[in-house]
Each structure stands twice: as C-alpha cells, then as structure tokens.
C-alpha cells in the first residue's frame, strides 16, 4: 500500500526539503576489496540505490595481488554515509572500509589539461604551470598539454587559471588517499 495513506498530492516543497537533507561534507572512502569480478558493480550499486552520486572513483592494485583498493569520494550528510558504509561492510568481497578524515590524510589526484596556446600565450601558461608545479608534457603549434598533481582544491584552482586561455579538454583521475603516520589506511 502506498505512502502516505492519503490522496493528498505531495507538494514540491516537501520533495525539495527531502532532497536538501542529502548534502553535507565530502567523504573520502577507502575500500579494500578482494580482486573478484563484479565487486565494483556491487559497490556502485549500493550508492546508486540510495540516490548517492559518486563524485570520483579510482580502482587499482595494492601491494597484495589478490586485493584491490577502491577510493571514492561522495557528497553526503553524516547519517546516510554511516548507513551506506554499514551496507558496504556486508558485501562479502569487501575487506575493509575507512572514511578518511581530511586532516589525517594525504590525498592526490592527477589531471591533464589541453589548453589553446599560440605564441605569446604559451609563455604565460608555462609560468602558471610552474607556480602550480605542473609539467608541460606536450606542445604543438596551437595547444599545450599540462600535467598537474595535487589535491582536488589545487587542481580546481589551476583549472580556474587556465580556463580563460581556452580549455580544450580536461581529464582527472579522481583522488587516491592514504592515511598519515605509520598505521595502514
């Protein structure tokens, strides 16, 4: 039987209020999984079912060949994240999950920017790249490709700087994150 138990239509304001509850701080989840087919689908499905939008997702091998690490970032209020991590724990192929605290974490992502640059502009672009400790990895007559690594904030700041030059393409890997100190992530 449908909810609520009346024939009153649900107002748009109520729907809006329900949606607004779903914003909060960014979470970086670091998930160790058994390297088996379908694991990523199971993880992604848990988020999709709850209407969560995964902002970034990276998957890669670890020091143990049978184990992979998934790092994903999501926007979510504290409570729903708690429920989703509990559900993640229930996945048989998931070994360990950490909701990383930004202060105790070193996070990096890699980005490639293809920017229009001919003549005069090229020098200015390269100066900006240098300030951001970026590397020019390709130069043609009309464009340069710049590689930047760093936190999401830094990448976004760099993007703001180069956009006026004519940003042709940008590619980002999504964050990987490792906990600080001696303990394992």
């Amino acid at each position: 039987m449908g909810e609520p138990g009346t024939k009153e239509p649900l107002s748009l304001e109520e729907l809006q209020a329900a949606t607004n509850m779903r914003t909060g701080r960014k979470h970086v989840l670091s998930i160790l999984v058994e390297n088996k087919s379908g694991v990523l689908t199971r993880i992604a499905g848990l988020f999709a079912r709850r209407g969560f939008n995964i902002s970034t997702l990276t998957v890669g091998p670890t020091e143990d060949v049978q184990i992979s690490r998934v790092t994903l970032t999501v926007d979510g209020a504290l409570h729903p994240i708690d429920q989703v991590t509990k559900q993640l724990h229930k996945l048989v192929n998931v070994l360990k999950i950490r909701d990383l605290e930004p202060a105790d974490t070193v996070a990096r992502e890699l980005a490639l920017f293809k920017v229009t640059a001919d003549g005069v502009q090229r020098g200015e672009l390269m100066q900006i790249a240098e300030i951001f400790r970026g590397k020019v990895v390709d130069v043609t007559k009309r464009a340069v490709i710049i590689e930047v690594t760093g936190t999401t904030d830094k990448i976004e700041a760099f993007e703001t700087m180069v956009r006026p030059f004519g940003l042709i393409e940008m590619m980002r890997t999504g964050e990987i994150a490792i906990s600080r100190g001696r303990s394992e992530t």
Binding site: M1, E3, G5, T6, G38, G45, K86, V92, V94, L95
Partner: protein, 563 residues
C-alpha cells in the same frame, strides 16, 4: 567427474535432501546429473513456485532451501522469490543455468544477465568462471546463506562449464576473509542492557523474525520470564513467544504490534520507557509516523546485522549478535541484578486495562454467513492450533496473524517484507515437503492464490498433502479497504467477481475440492477437509466487504489507531 556431478556431491555433503526446480536448455547437464545424483528433485510448474517452495521449506525446517532454474526467463522468474528471501532473511541457495561462455554478452538465446539483475536483492552471488571453482562456490554459498543474518545466495553456471570434467575433491573449509558475522554480542553492552532493564519502570520486549531465524525462541521465553516483561512480536516473529496454550492467552503476551496489531501492544510501545528490540528492524509497518514512535522510550537493539542497528531508530544500547546467544547471556546478567518485579505492577495494571478494554474483535453475522475473522478462528480450532500455516498477502494474512494463536516458532510462514501475493501455496508445498509429519495449511486470498495456483499440479503429482483454504471475498480485499477508507470509497479494479470457479480449477489439477458457506458447520467441515488424504482445496465464501481492524493509518502514530 563432470562439474554437475560434483554439484550433486556438494549438495549431499551440505545435507540437502530435496530441491525444487524446472529444467531448461542451459541447465540440461544439471538435470542429467539429477538422474543418478541421489537428490530428490520436485518438478514445479513455474520457477517462482519453486523459489517460494524453497523458502517455505527453509522457514519450516530452519535448513537451507534450494531452487533450480534455467537461464533467461527461468532465472527472471526467480527474481520475486529471491527478493522475498532477501527481505525476510530466508536462507535459500538459487542455482541458475547460464548460456555457454562463448555466447555470454551476445544476447544469445535465453540469455539474461542473471548476476546483474539479481545483484541488489541477493546476500551474495557467484558467477562460475572455471568449472573447478564450482564445489567451493557451492559450499561458500551454503555457508553465507545460513550464517549471520540469513539470506538468498545465487550461483550462475554457464552450460559448457557445468558439463566440463573436473578433479573433484571434497571441500571442507570456506575462505571468506571479508565475511565474518558476529553472533556472540559484546558482554559489556549486554551488562548495560541488563542494568537498563532492571531500572525500567515501563519496559517492553519487541521481538522479530530474527529470533525465529536464530532459533532463539527458548531464550526469548526465558528472558521474558526472568521478570514479568511484556512481550510483543512483529508479523515475522509470531510464535517466537507463545500467544497462549489451549485457548488461554499467555499473561505476558500483548499480541502483535504494528499497523494491524493490538491496541495493547501499540499503546505499550507508545508509553514504554525502555524498549528491548530483538531481531527486529523498526519497519515502517511497526513505527508508523517515525517522529512520534515510542516518544518516551530508550532503545536496546539486539541484531546480528550491524546495518540494522540505528537504521531507522537510534539505539541507546546497540548489541551486535544473534538473539540466541545474546538473550542467553542477558538472562544471566539480568538475574544477577535481583530486580524487584513489583516495580512493574503499575505498568501491568495499565497494560491489563488496555487488554480488557480493547480485545481483538469483530461483529459476527446474524445468519450463517462466514466472517473472515471467524474463518481463521475456526481453522485454529479445527487444527488445535498445531498446524503450520502459510499465507499470501493482504487482509487474510493480517486476520490470520491476529486470530490464529501460534504456540511455537516456524509455524507461521508468510511474506512480510516484500509482501508477495502468490507466496502461500508454494510455501505450504515446501513446508509440507520439509515437515512431512505435520499438518500444513495455507490460508490464501482469492486474488493471491491465482498467482501461483499452477503448483496445485505439483502437489497432486507428488501427493503433497497441503490443505489450501481460500478466504474468498471476490475482491483484492486490502486494496479495496484502502480505497474505501482513504480514497473516498471509489473502487478501482479490485472486484475479482466469482472467477475462477476454484472447485472446478482444483479438480482439473487432480486436487480434491470443497466449497464452504455456512459458519454453523464450519469447524466440522474444516476437520472433514483436513482428514481427506492428499492435497485439498477449500473455497470458503466469506463476507465480501469486511475491513481489517484495528489499524494505524499509514504515516500516523500509534495513538491514532482506528477501528
């Protein structure tokens, strides 16, 4: 030996004595192995029937049920039972055929992405990629299905791999580093819970299906009797605590709680200062309006699944562990505190006041017409309350929960979480196969029963002696009730008329059938039907427009119960 022959060996090693299924192209090798495999296989008429039968078997026996289907449509027909088993935590292993590996992903004949389609509704699933993996996958599937919070596990086997030769060696261990269910419960938390209970003035034990799943009914009873704790059960927990013995209600029993629960149970939850939830998940059918649910209470929440704790209602004392282990320890801790039972006197006089003021009741007919509530009471009398009873979903399900007094767990088998129409008949079939010594009755709705009526053929062919009592009001009754109460009485597509003629239908399937219309002889007539050998269908004509009461309208608080 072939992988499928190893499959038979693995099933036997798991103690499987019977499975339900239907063959097709992609599982032909499996069915070839059944010929000499030494496993009893019951051929169903629709895969959904087989899936629900496996659920009924599992719920009645506590063992793992097993259902087989072929690829594509065979597997998609299993989706409802799989989802049902997930919602009600039923241990079932589903084994599906898949197209040959070279055809995977090519839209081959009868290909469906079974693993992908079922992923959100399984506890776990395996796609066999090498025939040698099969034995381990089978054993891991059984282990996962029945441990921790039970649930459905699916194994999808491509046809070519299933007939491949393998070196079979019995598997005696499982390797699941990411799966370690905790059943014991934290001792410190348990002590905290005991202290809170000893201090409580208005406690209530709220027990759910998790108590039944953990075989913790005995421990629950001991816990309740360690003081004079009032006990209420959810729809899934009925029987975990006895409703009564020989028609005398148990003094500590409040009745079922929730949308169609008793006022005593719902009002007690509303006024409680401490609620001890065991193996229950604060479903919306229990809480009603969440913000007004048990506003004065603190919560102890005992559950084997950590994700259930504080999901809907924040727990003050969370305990991760199964009902059997935790309650056994809780009783010891509680007894050591020597709490004074007299502190509950005022609470009990309030509860007893509700019990005597608001008993379950209905207005009986003045003539011979059978009221649906009376039909359930009559069956309870005719069976001495000793039958396993299954049901479909709707009004008849709620009336059965209200009026059939279940003395023991695993006697009441129904679809609670998913609310699957068509569940009752095949579930009864599975229960009867699993518990051949016990009378198994199905109370079905005339709407619901048509969704899996084809399994009457399976019952007739295999002489499975279930007794199906159709509560026939010619309506999709619960929907009709909601349209009457909440949608201005405008009936939209709920009138089923007098179709089909259930007596003729049953007879066509080779099942003995009767029609009952007179309440004065109902108990005797039911006894007569039960005494008939083999499967029997009884078409019981009841009052057409009767409403299920009492009721908490959806989204309302317990205090707002009507009827």
């Amino acid at each position: 030996m072939r992988a499928v022959d190893a499959l038979m060996e693995c099933l036997k090693a798991e103690g499987v004595d019977v499975v339900f299924g239907l063959p097709g192209g992609a599982n032909l090798p499996t069915y070839d192995a059944f010929v000499t495999g030494g496993i009893r296989h019951i051929l169903v008429r629709h895969e959904a029937g087989g899936g629900h039968a496996a659920e009924g078997y599992a719920k009645a026996t506590g063992k793992v049920g097993v259902a087989f289907a072929t690829s594509g449509p065979g597997a998609t027909n299993l989706i409802t039972p799989i989802c049902d088993a997930m919602m009600d935590s039923v241990p079932v292993v589903f084994i599906t055929g898949q197209v040959r590996t070279e055809l995977l992903g090519t839209d081959g004949f009868q290909e469906a992405d079974t693993l992908g389609i079922t992923m959100p509704v399984v506890k776990h699933s395996f796609m066999i990629q090498h025939p040698q993996e099969l034995p381990r996958a089978i054993h891991e599937a059984f282990y996962i299905a029945q441990s921790g919070r039970p649930g459905p596990v699916l194994i999808d086997i491509p046809q070519d791999l299933s007939r491949a030769e393998i070196d079979y060696e019995p598997v005696t261990d499982v390797r699941l580093p990411g799966y370690q269910p905790r059943v014991e419960g934290n001792q410190k938390q348990i002590r905290q819970a005991a202290k809170a209970l000893a201090a409580a003035q208005r406690p209530v034990i709220y027990a759910g299906g998790g108590v039944v799943n953990a075989n913790g009914s005995q421990e629950l009873r001991e816990f309740a009797r360690s003081d004079r704790f009032p006990v209420t059960c959810t729809l899934m927990g009925l029987g975990a605590f006895p409703a009564g013995v020989g028609g005398t209600p148990d003094p500590q029993w409040l009745g079922m709680l929730g949308m169609h629960g008793t006022r005593a149970a719902n009002y007690a939850m509303d006024e409680a200062d401490l609620i001890c939830a065991v193996g229950a998940r604060f479903d919306d059918r229990i809480t009603g309006k969440l913000s007004e649910f048990a506003p004065r209470a603190k919560f102890i929440h005992i559950d084997v699944d950590p994700a259930e704790i504080s999901k809907n209602v924040p727990a003050h004392i969370p305990i991760v562990g199964d009902a059997k282990h935790v309650l056994a320890k809780l009783v010891i801790e509680y007894r050591s505190l020597g709490a004074d039972p007299a502190r509950l006197d005022a609470w009990w006089s309030r509860i007893d006041g509700w019990k005597s003021k608001y008993p379950l009741g209905y207005e009986d007919s003045a003539d011979t017409e059978i009221k649906p509530q009376y039909m359930v009471q009559a069956l309870c009398e005719a069976t001495g309350g000793e039958a396993i009873v299954t049901s479909d979903v709707g009004q008849h399900q709620m009336w059965t929960a209200q009026y059939y007094d279940f003395p023991e767990p695993r006697r009441w088998i129904n679809s609670g979480g998913l609310g699957t129409m068509g569940f009752g008949l095949p579930a009864a079939m599975g229960a009867a196969v699993g518990e051949p010594e016990r009378l198994v009755c199905c109370i079905a709705g005339d709407g619901s029963v048509q969704m899996n009526a084809q399994e009457l053929a399976t019952c007739a062919q295999n002489k499975i002696p279930i007794k199906v009592f159709i509560m026939n009001n010619g309506y999709l009754g619960m929907v009709r009730q909601w349209q009457e109460l909440f949608w201005d009485g405008k009936y939209s597509h709920v009138d089923m008329g007098e179709f089909p003629d259930f007596v003729k239908l049953a007879e066509a399937y080779g099942v003995t059938a009767l029609r009952l219309t007179d309440k004065t002889t109902l108990v005797q007539d039911m006894k007569r039907a039960i005494a008939i050998e083999g499967p029997v269908l009884v078409d019981v004509r009841v009052t057409r427009e009767e409403n299920t009461y009492p009721m908490i309208p959806a989204g309302s608080a317990a205090r707002e119960m009507v009827g």
